[in-house]
Symmetry: C2
DNA sequence: AAAAATTCCTTAACATGTTAAATATTGCTA
DNA sequence: TAGCAATATTTAACATGTTAAGGAATTTTT
C-alpha cells in the first residue's frame, strides 16, 4: 500500500523548497546589511530593470501576490525607497517608481549580488546553472505551460 | 552602470519561486478537497514514510522551520491527524506519529498524488524531470554543499 | 445615459516564514 | 551536588503567503 509515491527526498515541491533555501542563504546575508527584505529587493530590481510600472505588472514581475505587494509598497514608501502616484488617464492604476534612495541600494549592492551569482555558477557548474534555469522555466505557469 | 545582474526573468531565486507556483497548482487543487494545507500534507507524508519522529527530525524532513512545525502540529492534533507524546527517556523530546485519521488522508489521496507526479513527467519529459531533481539537490544546503 | 459587469487596488483574516527570546530538561564540570 | 552549558521545544513578534471580500474607477450592455 506504500511506496507508490516517490520518497520525500525525491519530491519536486520539497526539492524546490530546499534548493531555494540554499540559494537564499548568501542573498539573505547580503540583504541583512541593507535592512530590506528579499521581496523588497525584488521590487527594487524589477523597477530598476523596467522603469515605473503599475502595481499589477510589478507584482507579476516580482512574483508577489497582490495583497503582499500592497503591504510591501506601503512600507517601502515609508522608507522612501519607492514613489507611488495615481495614473492620470486611469485613476484605478497606481504607478510605482524607484526613488534615488532605492536606486542607491541597488547600486551599492550590485557588485555583491553579481559575486553571489558567480558563486553559484562555480559551485554547480555554468552549464548546469543555465540548464537548471531552462528546466525551471518549463514549470513556470506564466510561460508555455 | 546597469545590466551587471541577469534580468529578473533569468534570476535563480525568482525562477525557483515561479517553478514552485506551477508545481503547486495541481497539488493545491488536490489538497483543497481534503481540507489540509500543503505543509500538513508534507508532515503526513514524512510520518507515513519514516514512522514516529521527534519534532526536530520531522521539521527537518518536512522542510519546515521549527516554530512553523509547532503551530502546524497543534492544529493537526486538534484535527486528530497526528499524536504527540513526550519521549520517556528524554522528556525534552516530543514524539509525533500519524494517526489512523491522518493515514486515511494519505491513503485516500495517494493515487491522485501519483497521477500529478506522472503529469509533470509527461509535461516536461521524464529525463528532464529526473535531471531537474538532480540539479536541485546540488543547491540543497543539507547535502553535499 | 443608467445599470451591470469588469478591472485595479486595498483590506481583512488566518496560516506560514523568519528571527529572537523564553522555558524546560539534560549533560557536564568544578 | 550545585551550577553552568547545551539541547529540544515553545512562544512571541512581525513580515509575507494565501484566499476572500470590499471599494473605486472604467468599460460594456441595453
Amino acid at each position: 500500500m506504500k511506496n507508490k509515491l516517490p520518497p520525500t527526498t525525491r519530491s519536486l515541491p520539497i526539492a524546490l523548497i530546499r534548493a531555494r533555501e540554499g540559494v537564499m542563504i548568501p542573498i539573505r546575508e547580503m540583504l541583512a546589511e541593507t535592512g530590506i527584505s528579499e521581496q523588497q529587493w525584488r521590487v527594487l530590481r524589477v523597477l530598476d530593470e523596467h522603469g515605473p510600472l503599475d502595481a499589477s505588472t510589478l507584482a507579476d514581475r516580482a512574483s508577489l501576490l497582490f495583497p503582499s505587494l500592497t503591504r510591501i509598497a506601503q512600507s517601502m514608501r515609508k522608507k522612501g525607497l519607492i514613489s507611488q502616484v495615481q495614473d492620470k488617464t486611469d485613476r484605478r492604476r497606481q504607478v510605482i517608481a524607484i526613488t534615488d534612495a532605492g536606486q542607491k541600494i541597488i547600486d551599492d549592492n550590485v557588485d555583491h549580488a553579481v559575486q553571489i551569482v558567480e558563486g553559484f555558477k562555480v559551485s554547480i557548474g555554468e552549464a548546469n546553472y543555465e540548464q537548471l534555469l531552462d528546466l525551471l522555466s518549463l514549470l513556470d505557469p506564466d510561460k508555455s505551460d
